[in-house]
């Protein structure tokens, strides 16, 4: 509406304000184009209820991890430890269920919070950049998972087959059904609504953006930014913990290899959602779109029979293209 009229009037030359408004729509246009493209290529094999059910099951874990990343990125930091943290949280959650019964799953969320808090403490107190800190945590936490799991997995069963003496399985039919279509979608939607309120409406969410905007100023007026950053990483950790529980439900097992490289997908989803990695701005809705776009592209390329390596190249190119279009350069003074 405003878009097309603006374009007609200006004939290619747009005012910054109009450009900004158009940029706001980039993630939505991108996802529409991607859907149309794969529909054109693969037809009903892509545009089927079955495939969309699959996509609806596949997106939530990535979306939740992207939420965690969004909080951190908005402050101008980054968290690349979340893949390992996901595996750790899921494993601890599964152990909790083994030891304490169903309620023990919350230990998984606590484990995520713990990793996040460690990240935050190291970054704020030792003043080590978040990239380096969380890179170290990525390596350390993965090693911890391998050590405590001794390389073995814990399986969730539906209880019909008795595990016998095998201690590495838990009967949790409720969790497995949570990992399937309607339930996983509803659960993810509920968390998304909470996240939207948290990020867009609360003072905490505003402060995320303010820290990303100019952290020095907040210190100058007496705000304890150090403590706040620890809270941010802990909150992101809680979100990773929730993602880990959903992943446990979806995969039906806590494996030491869970979440390998998924931190990169989470960063990509945030970036596809138009959030500058320099911090200060961000959007929950667009991050959801980003996660969905990434899932759809991966799914569409597979259905179209594109070999995995070529898919990766296409994904990388898409990421650069999306950021190149949506980045508001007037709001980013330095590129690091």
């Amino acid at each position: 509406m405003t878009d097309s009229s603006a374009r007609k009037r200006t004939g290619g030359f747009l005012s910054p304000r109009q450009l900004e408004r158009i940029r706001d729509y980039v993630p939505f246009v991108a996802i529409a184009l991607v859907i149309l493209l794969f529909w054109a290529i693969s037809g009903d094999r892509f545009m089927s209820v079955r495939n969309w059910t699959f996509i609806a099951q596949q997106t939530p874990v990535l979306m939740l991890l992207a939420f965690a990343q969004l909080m951190v990125v908005t402050t101008g930091s980054i968290d690349i430890s979340i893949g390992s943290s996901l595996a750790f949280s899921a494993y601890v959650g599964a152990l909790g269920m083994l030891w304490l019964g169903d309620g023990g799953l919350v230990l998984g969320i606590a484990a995520g919070a713990l990793v996040g808090m460690c990240n935050g403490l190291v970054i704020s107190l030792l003043k080590i950049p978040s990239f380096v800190t969380t890179l170290a945590m990525l390596i350390i936490v993965r090693a911890v998972v391998i050590i405590i799991s001794d390389g073995t997995s814990i399986y969730m069963t539906d209880g019909s087959v008795s595990g016998g003496t095998n201690i590495s399985s838990v009967a949790a039919p409720w969790l497995l059904s949570l990992g399937k279509f309607p339930a996983i979608f509803v659960a993810a939607a509920a968390v998304a609504v909470l996240m939207w309120v948290f990020y867009e409406k609360t003072l905490f969410g505003q402060q995320l953006k303010a820290v990303g905007g100019n952290e020095k100023v907040l210190r100058l007026v007496g705000i304890n930014v150090t403590a706040f950053k620890v809270k941010v990483f802990a909150a992101a950790g809680v979100m990773v913990g929730i993602a880990a529980c959903v992943n446990l439900a979806r995969a039906g097992a806590a494996t030491p290899q869970a979440g390998l490289m998924i931190e990169l997908d989470a960063i990509a989803a945030v970036a596809l959602g138009g959030t500058p990695l320099t911090g200060g701005y961000g959007s929950v809705v667009k991050t959801i779109i980003g996660a969905l776009t990434l899932t759809i592209v991966r799914n569409g390329l597979t259905i179209a029979g594109v070999p995995p390596s070529w898919s990766q190249i296409a994904l990388g190119a898409l990421l650069i293209a999306a950021i190149a279009i949506s980045l508001n350069r007037s709001k980013v003074d330095v590129v690091k």
């Binding site: 100023v217 100058l220 007026v221």
Partner: protein
């Protein structure tokens, strides 16, 4: 008056070094109620350092600060503490968060809460309008826009507005008009007079504009190479005399 009441603010022999740099060697001055004082000095003389110590940004290496006769505990010296005592600063580089709105910046560090976790947006918007009106700024229409969209002068008025809105006792202005045109400069000067007369607020003003200093200040403190070397009452120093004090220290 001096005999009966202690001055509002007393700063005695405060010093500060950063690594090897002695930014401030010995800063002393007093500030009375309803008084406007100016601090002048060459670039790098230590003016900003002196007022940042008063504001609680950093504790001095030595010296003491008294407010209404009571010593400030310099081991527990922080911006929040000084803000609680009604001391506000407009910093040289404004100290605004560019990607946030005018109301957010105005309430920075003291957000009014609603239901514990939300901001009281209406209260913030109304107060912002009120403060901007007081400064005769009527050009900021959309208060929800990030302030990086505003002009330099408008941003300045947000920074000054924040200080006068909360600085019940002392407002410190570090080169408040350096970036402003003549109209805006006049507006700031008028505001200083008005707030002082209406609310009895005291001002400490740093400025390189000697005419302005002579117009506004009851007393002028000269700082030379990190030492508050001289003091002049209103009308007691010609511009030439001030320049000499600033550049040569005598």
């Amino acid at each position: 008056m001096r005999n009966s009441d202690p001055p509002l603010l007393e700063v005695k022999n405060v010093s500060k070094s950063f690594g090897g740099v002695q930014a401030l060697r010995s800063g002393s001055f007093e500030l009375g109620r309803r008084e406007v004082i100016a601090v002048v000095g060459a670039n790098g003389a230590g003016k900003s350092t002196l007022i940042k110590i008063v504001a609680g940004v950093y504790p001095p290496d030595s010296g003491e600060i008294r407010i209404k006769g009571r010593p400030v505990d310099l081991h527990d010296h922080s911006v929040s503490r000084m803000r609680e005592r009604g001391i506000e600063v407009v910093y040289q580089d404004l100290a605004l968060v560019p990607n946030m709105s005018a109301p957010y910046n105005l309430f920075l560090g003291r957000m009014p809460r609603k239901w514990g976790i939300f901001a009281d947006k209406r209260l913030m918007r109304d107060k912002t309008r009120e403060v901007l009106d007081q400064l005769n700024v009527r050009t900021v229409q959309d208060l929800s826009r990030p302030i990086s969209d505003l002009s330099g002068g408008q941003q300045q008025s947000i920074a000054i507005g924040r200080a006068i809105a909360w600085g019940k006792e002392i407002v410190i202005l570090d080169e408040p008009t350096a970036a402003l045109g003549p109209n805006e400069t006049g507006e700031v000067e008028r505001m200083v007079e008005e707030v002082r007369n209406k609310h009895g607020t005291s001002f400490i003003m740093i400025s390189h504009n000697l005419e302005q200093v002579q117009r506004l200040a009851d007393r002028i403190i000269v700082i030379h190479h990190g030492i508050t070397s001289q003091e002049f009452k209103r009308g007691k120093a010609t511009a030439d005399r001030l320049v000499k004090a600033i550049t040569v220290g005598i």
